[in-house]
């Protein structure tokens, strides 16, 4: 039987404001427990929330970048439930009237086709604190540093039809929020996490199946794996004549399975109602237009421009524009070198990315600056060094820093372009390998590569390979003297 999986995602993105959404306490990560919790965050008697305007602007930014309608009036509501890391006994969120709604986002599928995913809404809310169940000898510890950190919850339409699509959508949102600089997107620190609503139906069935909600998926890989195993589970249940129960489930990555959460926790009736402590958020056209004017070039537009302007293959353009700092790095290098943009792309995606990965560094922490890379590429371009030598110079730049010209100079890496010197090297190789020369002249021309290699080796890589090729060919093709 042919099944189709239907997926909608709810992505919680921590906003990169300096202070919390309703208090002046810092949002910095990693401080000792409860040192960044003000009386407001602690839910003390008599305190009141005051909205952080920066969080509103960031939510609007997201809305504009995804073609959402920006609500001229949105309302904060209280979501009521008891938990020790929820100090007020309610979470301030938005319910009936979110700040933005009705947008969309394009994702590129593996086969290159583009699919549009609907964004139902994105609403502002405060995060809860953290419960620490270890190290307290039968008690639980509560850290309220995170309580009151601003979030937007981005709710998609149930438009995705595979785990891979869900992964692509989540990555796209991740790219976007970082482009917009509204979130650091740090998944280890919980700044970007996702719940997935998953159901299956027989292909062609117009109505949706009963869905389950997978909670707190904090990596792209887990999202994809969790959806896969949950869809399989649902199909198994249905095919064996069972019924799907609408419930909240947790993904266990160790056992690669989903399990229902305790039913107690989902029996909550949240009793949403408008928060009387906060006025409706009123947004005027002037604010929206100011934020629109401040929007950076978005990933899709940048990718298209890279393809057009730099004549890059779509894949290169997609990777380079996947992170705004990487795209910025690339453009800075392109602007500073005479090398072709495609050559710059090869270096950024090859040597540079390799070095970053080996060092576990982000592009913003690259040890080779765009200007250094550009200088290196210029030396290839003007024939001072070969591409091979350039890789050596790059390693040196990465490990020790310094100036490209100086490294080439001090290590004697300047390419041998002197014809006589190359001819001498070629003659030595012809004399040293009579068998191979013979083979070549018998028509086995593929042996040329071996001979070129021997010349390069003899020059310790410094001979100009094109010249070597040319001279060698001329010598071999000439009738034996």
């Amino acid at each position: 039987m042919d099944w189709e999986v239907v997926i909608g995602l709810e992505i919680h993105t921590q906003l990169a404001t300096k202070s919390k959404i309703f208090s002046g306490a810092s949002t910095a990560y990693g401080a000792p427990p409860n040192t960044q919790a003000s009386l407001v965050d602690l839910g003390y008697p008599g305190v009141l929330p005051v909205l952080n305007g920066a969080a509103v602007e960031m939510a609007i930014k997201f809305g504009l970048a995804t073609g959402c309608t920006i609500a001229r009036r949105s309302v904060f509501a209280r979501k009521n439930y008891f938990y020790p890391d929820l100090p007020k006994g309610y979470q301030i969120s938005q319910y009936e009237l979110p700040i933005v709604h009705g947008g969309k986002l394009d994702i590129v599928l593996d086969d290159g086709t583009v699919k549009t995913i609907g964004i139902t809404r994105a609403h502002l809310e405060e995060d809860a604190g953290k419960s620490l169940h270890e190290d307290f000898h039968g008690l639980s510890g509560i850290d309220l540093n995170r309580a009151g950190t601003p979030l937007i919850e981005i709710v998609s339409e149930p438009d995705m039809r595979s785990a891979a699509e869900a992964g692509a959508y989540m990555r796209k949102i991740h790219t976007l929020v970082r482009y917009l600089e509204i979130s650091d997107g740090n998944m280890q620190e919980g700044s970007f996490r996702c719940d997935a609503n998953v159901s299956v139906r027989r292909r062609g069935d117009p109505s949706f199946g009963t869905r389950t909600e997978l909670k707190n998926l904090n990596s792209f890989r887990f999202v994809e794996k969790a959806i896969e195993v949950e869809a399989e589970r649902q199909i198994d249940v249905l095919e064996s004549g069972g019924r799907i129960v609408q419930e909240t489930r947790l993904y266990d990555p160790d056992r690669n399975e989903t399990r229902p959460m305790r039913t107690k926790e989902e029996a909550n009736d949240y009793r949403y109602f408008p928060d009387p402590d906060l006025l409706p958020v009123v947004v005027d056209d002037a604010l929206i237009e100011r934020i629109r004017a401040e929007l950076p070039e978005l990933p899709d537009a940048k990718r298209e421009r890279f393809i057009a302007e730099y004549e890059l293959p779509a894949d290169d353009a997609a990777i380079l524009t996947g992170q705004r700092p990487l795209a910025d790095y690339y453009e800075a290098a392109v602007a500073a070198t005479k090398a072709r943009p495609k050559a710059v792309a090869n270096w950024v995606l090859g040597e540079l990315t390799g070095a970053l990965n080996r060092s576990g560094l982000d592009i913003t922490a690259s040890r080779v600056a765009p200007a250094q890379l550009a200088a290196l590429l210029d030396r290839i371009e003007d024939g001072t060094i070969s591409g091979k030598i350039a890789k050596e110079v790059f390693e040196t730049l990465w490990d020790e820093g310094g100036d490209v010209a100086q490294i080439i100079e001090s290590r004697g890496l300047v390419q041998i372009t002197d014809s006589e010197a190359i001819e001498a090297l070629v003659d030595d190789v012809i004399n040293a390998y009579p068998d191979q020369v013979h083979q070549y002249r018998d028509g086995k021309t593929q042996v040329l590569g071996f001979l070129v290699g021997q010349v390069m080796k003899a020059s310790r890589g410094k001979a100009n390979p094109q010249q070597v090729n040319k001279v060698l060919r001329a010598r071999l093709d000439a009738p034996p003297s």
């Binding site: 008697p45 009521n80 006994g89 109602f273 402590d277 906060l278």
Partner: protein, 486 residues
């Protein structure tokens, strides 16, 4: 000294005929002598008061004094006071020492006022008789077998018994005006948002408003002008300039049209009470006001609407009292699982009226009931608000009784919540509509004071205070002191 108004005391202090220390000592002595009978105070901060008084005397000497410097005041125990227990009349907060001052407290402190202590109140301001307090009922100084009204009953009794020249209060459905009426003093609930709610423990956030209980309207004006004004820490506070109320009340009388809602004189209103109120209205007419009968179409729905909206908000506002971070934690709660931990702490920390309202509020917000109750009540609230707005296109103020009857006996209504709730039938409308309202003494029935309520359009505090002040210039109901408390 305690027969002087704040205006008179301030004059005496500035003239150095009296020191703040002497004045404070006098009130502390009165509290020590008389509060055993009234139970108006939960906490008396005698040492702090004397230190504040000494600082006030220095300010009075060096010329940095304000109109309130050296004036002793009592604060309802709903206002957070730094370093002082802030109980809200509840066992839940019996051990809670606030780490900060409410904006109201901070502003009065800055003005140099002296805090005598924290006054008794219905638990979390839920009550109309001050009988729900964890600290026991407050007695009405006019008849100690009777209630002083609530929830600001301690503040009302303290001022009526002349244990404090004035006190702060809060009013969610009548909690300043009703006790002011039953205790024979003046009480004003300003426009919603006129006074910051920061540091005032929330009961029903969209209705709560801080105000003043005092002997005269003039004194209320002096306090209100120090308390009111925009507070960046309260998003619902109004960013409007604060008039110089104490100067405004003495400006010449201007012609006023006073609307008298016929539906405030209904079958629930005690006949003798009605007579006193009508006499007071006639007095206002003599002052030059024009009376105009009008009808508020939906005001009869104010009690049911209120008892949906207020408990709904309360059920959420009081969720933070869980024994996790502060407040009451049952001795054996830590041995229990989480749900039982909450139930034990809240079950033992809250009294029955608070529980009743939390249950009511939880119910009306529940899935399936929200539309029928909460949403409907908000619609009714809008209708009531519109009725007032319509009326104020024709009249300057609306006047009528504050309460249906004078002070009732302790225990008389404790077993009948509906009867208790109906005591606020005339006052709740102003809260639902966010309007300023004032109650002032206007007569007596069998030795018990009767209150006249006046309601104004938004930000009409000056007009209310001025009308009350002019009324108080030609009457002496407000100057009467309960026998034994002269």
């Amino acid at each position: 000294m305690h027969d002087l108004t704040i205006a008179q005391l301030a004059e005496a202090l500035r003239a150095r005929k009296l020191s703040a220390a002497e004045l404070t000592r006098h009130y502390l002595d009165r509290i020590a002598a008389r509060d055993g009978e009234l139970n108006a105070f939960i906490t008396v901060t005698a040492d702090d008061a004397m230190q504040q008084a000494e600082r006030a005397d220095r300010r009075l000497a060096d010329g940095t004094a304000t109109a309130l410097t050296g004036i002793p005041l009592a604060h309802k125990d709903i206002f957070c006071t730094s370093g002082v227990r802030t109980s809200c009349g509840s066992r839940m907060l019996d051990n809670f020492v606030s780490p900060y001052d409410a904006t109201v407290v901070a502003r009065l402190n800055d003005a140099g006022a002296v805090m005598l202590g924290k006054t008794n109140m219905d638990e979390f301001a839920m009550g109309s008789s001050n009988e729900t307090s964890w600290y026991g009922p407050v007695k009405n100084p006019w008849d100690t077998a009777r209630v002083p009204g609530g929830s600001s009953g301690g503040s009302a009794a303290a001022v009526a018994g002349r244990l404090a020249p004035a006190a702060t209060g809060t009013d969610t459905g009548g909690s300043i005006r009703q006790p002011a009426a039953l205790s024979g003093i003046t009480g004003i609930k300003p426009t919603y948002g006129r006074v910051s709610r920061y540091g005032m423990i929330a009961f029903a956030s969209s209705l709560d408003q801080a105000g003043v209980l005092s002997v005269t309207a003039e004194d209320a004006a002096l306090l209100l002008e120090a308390m009111a004004g925009f507070d960046p820490r309260d998003s619902t506070s109004l960013d409007e300039p604060v008039p110089h109320y104490s100067a405004e009340i003495d400006t010449p009388w201007e012609h006023l049209t006073i609307g008298v809602p016929d539906n405030f004189f209904d079958e629930g209103l005690d006949a003798a009470n009605a007579e006193a109120v009508r006499a007071a209205l006639a007095e206002l007419e003599k002052l030059g006001a024009t009376l105009k009968t009008l009808h508020l179409d939906h005001v009869h729905l104010s009690v049911p609407a209120y008892y949906v909206v207020a408990p709904a908000e309360a059920s959420s506002n009081l969720a933070r009292f869980d024994g996790v971070r502060f407040g009451y934690r049952s001795p054996d709660a830590e041995k229990l699982d989480l749900a039982s931990f909450y139930k034990r702490n809240r079950g033992e920390g809250f009294g029955p009226e608070v529980k009743r309202r939390i249950l009511t509020g939880t119910y009306v917000l529940s899935a399936g009931y929200y539309d029928a109750y909460y949403l409907k009540a908000q619609q009714v609230r809008k209708l009531i608000s519109d009725d007032f707005a319509k009326a104020f296109r024709e009249v300057d103020l609306i006047a009528g009784p504050t309460t249906p009857t004078p002070a009732f006996l302790l225990g008389q209504k404790t077993n009948d919540p509906i009867q208790m709730y109906l005591n606020d039938i005339y006052t709740i409308g102003a809260n639902l509509a966010g309007l300023p309202a004032l109650s002032m003494p206007c007569g007596f029935v069998d030795g018990l004071p009767v209150g006249l309520q006046m309601v104004g359009p938004p930000l009409a505090e000056a007009k209310l205070l001025k009308t009350a002040h002019w009324f108080q210039k030609v009457t002496d109901w407000h100057r009467r002191v309960p026998p034994g408390y002269e």
